[in-house]
Subunit: 339 residues, 2 copies
């Protein structure tokens, strides 16, 4: 069990998830001596959990390549392997992102025709939430990969947002006639022309993500990661300013007290724990990355994402969608490898 | 005169700028019949302005290539040409961004060794403001171009933020050992190793921009534009939520009334008009793009950016900085062209 707090967050997080979905059972991978005391505090969870003990851990500072070489037998490895073996429907980890990605890719293997799995995430919008991908599994993306991301994101939107035919937008910039966005333009043409199980709405700019203009936003991983982090930073910056505005004088403090109900709702809306849980999409199995610094409630959200994805049989559905896409793009799937 | 409102914004904007800097004189390019009535409302400005009449305009919908072909003699062209001829110290336009960029590049020409001018902008932070570039003049950037952006942004920070040795950060993503950021890594190595007139602080992630961790943030134009737009969108989204939180009940409305002073300060802090005015950097002359939808106060901010840059002789200083950089990178400047 990874993350900043290990079992102290993961176990109570699982307990919250169990309250929401009483039919779930849990495999808890890690140091039994550290897990058990927390588990004893949650009797209901205790009866529905099995601890798979291991001393081996992937450290937060390990590089993905080190984790792959030395991490076999670690809690992370065993948890991912349990999904591959069909012993678990999905894996959730708050540990080392790069290591989890590398292990998930190696053990679960990419779907046929998928070169690059993506990391997706939920993004709070004025109207609810949308899915954004890729958030940094890879840098850059070909037109075909962007088209694949569209279907991968749509599969997640179906599972998590419960929208059967999600509106999908392609993140682009507004400047005309400049070099270098050939991939984005080509993906745009493909998504527009082909009959796919999505409602493709065209190009979207960065300021439209939060408006809820689309259910799925597709972008290559460098810009996607920067967009996500920038939005998080801006939200924090604004929250600091709002706090300052509401504490600068006695009158402001009284005002904040009077408005506390609305302000609490605002805080809840922005609560990153509600949107925690980023799946790796494009693999033959479900692996969810939880933020390393989240708490039990946040970890429960990440479990919820995995639960919804497993429930909606996202992998099977996505496999058939991708098959149809590759047929339309006329690309020999085999030639693209599944390394 | 371009932008959504033309002379109705540009002329009163110039009047505000003149109040701040009484020594400035203005060349106003456009339709005299439309400009003159506005000018008559500002007697002080009238005595320090000259209208250069032209009927030809670059339309907001014109593509840059069309603007270059048909736009000679337009107000935009003549204004840029005035800078080239030394008749003006800088040009500010609220018109078509792509056209302005194309004309500025063609007429002012890039500095020796600069392949790609960049668009820079001011970004409000918790501690004041920082400069971010490239905001979309080009997609992608080589390591050498990123290093050039660092110096270009530093020159602007010196002029506009009045910081002699700006802290410069390179925008990157936190995921280790992934492909495709060779350019960013190489630029990082160069900036770290070479003695340059900046305080290079290393990699910065998207959530650190608004914290004011650096005075200059360097990124290629696609991700830079997306970051900017995403931050703008997030700020608007949060503002909508705050408004909602402070109007949902009578108590909240009274609270907002009591906190109005702080809330007004908050609004002022976020006011995009204060940060309006994005220069094209890397050209032999100063050209500033104002937001097309801004008002007089916003246009005055854009003039202020040009004024500060001209005052600090940013072009001359930057030319010598770039010269030093190219010497250190050991690249033959001539070979890189200045198309």
């Amino acid at each position: 069990m990874g993350g900043d707090a290990g079992p102290a967050v993961v176990v109570p997080g699982a307990a919250i998830a169990l309250e929401r979905h009483p039919g779930v059972t849990f495999l808890l991978f890690g140091d039994e001596g550290r897990i058990a005391p927390h588990l004893l505090e949650h009797p209901a969870l205790l009866t529905r959990s099995r601890i798979i003990h291991t001393d081996a851990v992937v450290e937060m500072r390990d590089k993905p390549s080190q984790a792959l070489r030395r991490g076999r037998g670690s809690s992370m490895w065993l948890a991912v392997e349990a999904v591959h073996k069909g012993e678990a429907d999905f894996v959730v980890s708050a540990g080392n992102t790069g290591a989890l990605m590398a292990m998930a890719r190696l053990v679960l293997t990419p779907m046929v025709g998928i070169e690059r799995p993506a990391i997706a995430g939920q993004w709070p919008t004025l109207t609810g939430a949308c899915i954004v991908l890729d958030l940094g599994a890879n840098i850059g993306a070909t037109a075909a990969q962007l088209a694949e991301f569209a279907l991968m994101g749509a599969a997640m939107a179906r599972a998590v947002l419960h929208i059967e035919r999600p509106r999908v937008g392609l993140l682009n910039i507004g400047v005309e006639e400049i070099k270098g966005i050939e991939e984005v333009k080509q993906a745009h043409a493909w998504l527009k022309e082909n009959e796919l199980p999505i409602d493709y709405i065209g190009f979207v700019e960065g300021d439209q993500i939060g408006q809820g203009i689309a259910d799925v936003i597709v972008v290559e991983g460098f810009a996607g990661n920067i967009a996500l982090k920038t939005a998080e930073g801006t939200a924090k910056q604004m929250a600091a300013w709002v706090r300052e505005a509401l504490s600068g004088s006695i009158a402001a403090q009284v005002g904040a007290f009077l408005a506390q109900q609305g302000l609490r709702a605002l805080k809840d809306r922005m609560d990153p724990r509600r949107f925690n849980g980023g799946p790796f999409l494009g693999l033959n199995g479900i692996a969810i990355k939880s933020h390393g610094g989240t708490d039990a409630l946040g970890f429960a959200s990440a479990i919820e994402v995995g639960y919804d994805m497993a429930e909606s049989r996202v992998v099977e559905r996505l496999a058939s969608d991708l098959d149809a896409l590759h047929g339309k793009l006329g690309e020999p799937q085999q030639a693209r490898g599944s390394s």
